[in-house]
């Protein structure tokens, strides 16, 4: 059944980022998402939480059409960003991914130099201006510049895990996206690197819309403005983060965030 999102707290303030209506997703015969409807506000961090296998990554990939790359994934329903239907017949997945960047759970820098990693996005999208400036600005915004400015031509794979993940963030920022989708970006990192990336998210949300999948309740509570709780491919509820963590309206949400689940 449709979970109709009519939450004034979400719709009132900064509506108009992503609007998802009655989204179903099937992997072959297996239905991974059921009738998801939600609104993701702009210039805020929205956290998606839920137990393993509940469809968080799947949902995130619907927001920039990465599921197109899964051969037997099929989608029904409506997803739009800033009023533009992402699944309209003429919609170009490449243009969409250019505007809606993604950070993955495991840092995945290319086996190229630090510089080439950041310059990659502008290059393939046909930018022919000054790449040096873009590289520097992106690395600064990702809080990595000071650590790597003397070794831009060195292999990116020589960086530590936390630095690699910030490099991936810089790489995504280099094409100037409007959204950053982050799928458990700190799950492979130590607390210090995690802290840096969380700080980064807090500063980036002034300009960007961030959707963050996380298994850490503390992380969701620390950095997000809104939190959505998924269970078995369904959206249970979405609200302001303070509300979700203090007075959730669904019993299952409370059980999950207090660790009484399953």
């Amino acid at each position: 059944m449709a979970v109709v999102m009519a939450n004034p707290a979400v719709q009132g303030s900064r509506a108009g980022g992503f609007v998802v209506r009655n989204l179903d997703l099937f992997y072959g015969a297996h239905q991974a998402l059921h009738q998801i409807s939600m609104t993701i506000p702009e210039r805020a961090v929205t956290a998606i939480i839920g137990p393993s296998g509940c469809g968080k990554s799947t949902f995130l990939r619907c927001l920039n059409r990465m599921n197109d790359l899964v051969p037997d994934a099929r989608i029904q329903g409506h997803v739009s960003f800033r009023g533009e239907d992402l699944y309209a017949p003429g919609a170009d997945p490449m243009a969409i991914r250019y505007r809606i960047g993604m950070i993955f759970q495991k840092p995945n820098p290319f086996p190229k130099s630090i510089y080439e990693n950041v310059a990659f996005g502008p290059r393939i999208n046909g930018y022919d201006g000054d790449l040096d400036d873009i590289v520097e600005a992106s690395l600064r915004r990702a809080a990595l510049w000071d650590e790597v400015k003397d070794r831009l031509r060195k292999p990116a794979l020589a960086l530590s895990g936390g630095q690699q993940q910030r490099l991936c963030i810089a790489r995504a920022l280099a094409v100037n996206p409007e959204v950053l989708l982050m799928d458990e970006p700190t799950s492979a990192l130590d607390p210090i690197a995690t802290g840096k990336i969380e700080e980064l998210m807090t500063s980036l949300k002034q300009e960007y819309t961030i959707v963050l999948v996380t298994h850490s309740m503390q992380q969701a509570a620390r950095v997000s403005d809104y939190t959505a709780f998924f269970l078995d491919g369904r959206l249970v509820e979405m609200d302001r983060t303070e509300r979700i963590f203090s007075a959730p309206s669904d019993r299952r949400t409370e059980d999950y965030i207090t660790g009484r689940f399953g």
């Binding site: 920039n64 990465m66 790359l69 051969p71 490449m94 243009a95 991914r97 250019y98 960047g101 993604m102 993955f104 495991k106 995945n108 820098p109 290319f110 086996p111 190229k112 990659f120 996005g121 393939i124 999208n125 292999p155 794979l157 020589a158 991936c168 790489r171 995504a172 094409v175």
Partner: protein, 296 residues
């Protein structure tokens, strides 16, 4: 308790026994190799000289040399690689990324499967079969004659399946997360293939190419079939010139009745071995170079 201890002792004895058995196997293999090499070195080394490398064939063992087959082999394998590498890589890329289409249908999938299976099988076809095909198709039908070009095309066909199979392996060994990273930045499929996947697979592709070309360097049967000559006293100038190659020349010398020519054959084998070893050395170097890059 005792039972467990006894069983543990038995397993330890088994470990020791298999250790010695495997050691014996490798000693036998290495001993045979060493004897062969010793025999070659003792007969061939005295014949090896600068003038042997730079002289043409002669009826006299003392004056004969290996220049023409050396140059011929070089031309043949360079041309072979030049044909086989691009075609092989393109075929592998097609099979991995385009053959099934964006919306795979069962028909296309089974057709692709069928193609892949056949290419895998072609890698096991004896080289003489390629030689006979080359004779019928390149030498006679295309009228290329007994030329370097016909030989290189024949050998290229022979190594093509090996290159395709290994290139596909190298492509599949590239972590999908790299491709996803590029797609997430708005890259097209072609950009992902050429800017991310192929560069990451390059080490594997080059290693496979060098190893298969070194196999081509040691082949004589298919080249005898497409008509390598055994007595060549001028260097080839164009790809359509006639030629000879090292294995064919060695085969010819080894078949001569005079003992002196047997020694010359040994010297020829030493040259061929040196070439093969250096090709393999390059392959190992390439692999370690790219591996280091990937692990960094």
């Amino acid at each position: 308790m005792n039972d467990i201890a006894a069983r543990r002792r038995r397993r330890r004895r088994m470990d020791a026994a298999s250790h010695w058995l495997f050691l014996l196997a490798i000693v036998v293999a290495l001993a045979v190799l060493a004897i062969l090499l010793w025999d070659l070195l003792s007969t061939g080394l005295p014949r090896l000289s600068w003038s042997f490398l730079t002289s043409h064939a002669s009826r006299f063992a003392d004056r004969t040399g290996i220049l023409a087959p050396l140059v011929g082999s070089f031309y043949v394998i360079v041309l072979t690689a030049a044909f086989a590498l691009p075609v092989g890589v393109a075929t592998a890329v097609f099979l991995e990324f385009y053959a099934e289409g964006d919306r795979p249908s069962p028909l296309r999938q089974s057709l692709t499967q069928f193609l892949k299976l056949n290419i895998d099988n072609l890698a096991g076809v004896p080289s003489i079969v390629y030689g006979l095909f080359g004779l019928a198709f390149f030498v006679r039908w295309m009228q290329l004659g007994r030329s370097i070009l016909a030989a290189a095309l024949t050998l290229a066909l022979m190594v093509l399946p090996v290159i395709i199979v290994n290139t596909r392996e190298a492509i599949r060994a590239v972590p999908p997360s790299l491709a996803h990273g590029a797609y997430a930045l708005g890259a097209s499929k072609t950009q992902v293939i050429f800017t991310v996947i192929l560069p990451a697979a390059l080490g594997g592709i080059l290693t496979a190419t060098i190893l298969s070309v070194s196999r081509a360097l040691g082949e004589s049967a298919p080249l005898l079939a497409v008509g390598a000559w055994v007595y060549v006293t001028s260097l080839p100038r164009t790809p359509l010139d006639s030629f000879t190659v090292l294995p064919v020349q060695i085969y010819y010398w080894a078949g001569m009745p005079q003992k002196a020519f047997q020694e010359v054959a040994s010297a020829g084998i030493l040259v061929l071995l040196a070439l093969l070893l250096s090709l393999n050395g390059i392959a190992i170097w390439l692999r370690s170079k790219y591996q280091k890059k990937a692990e960094w």
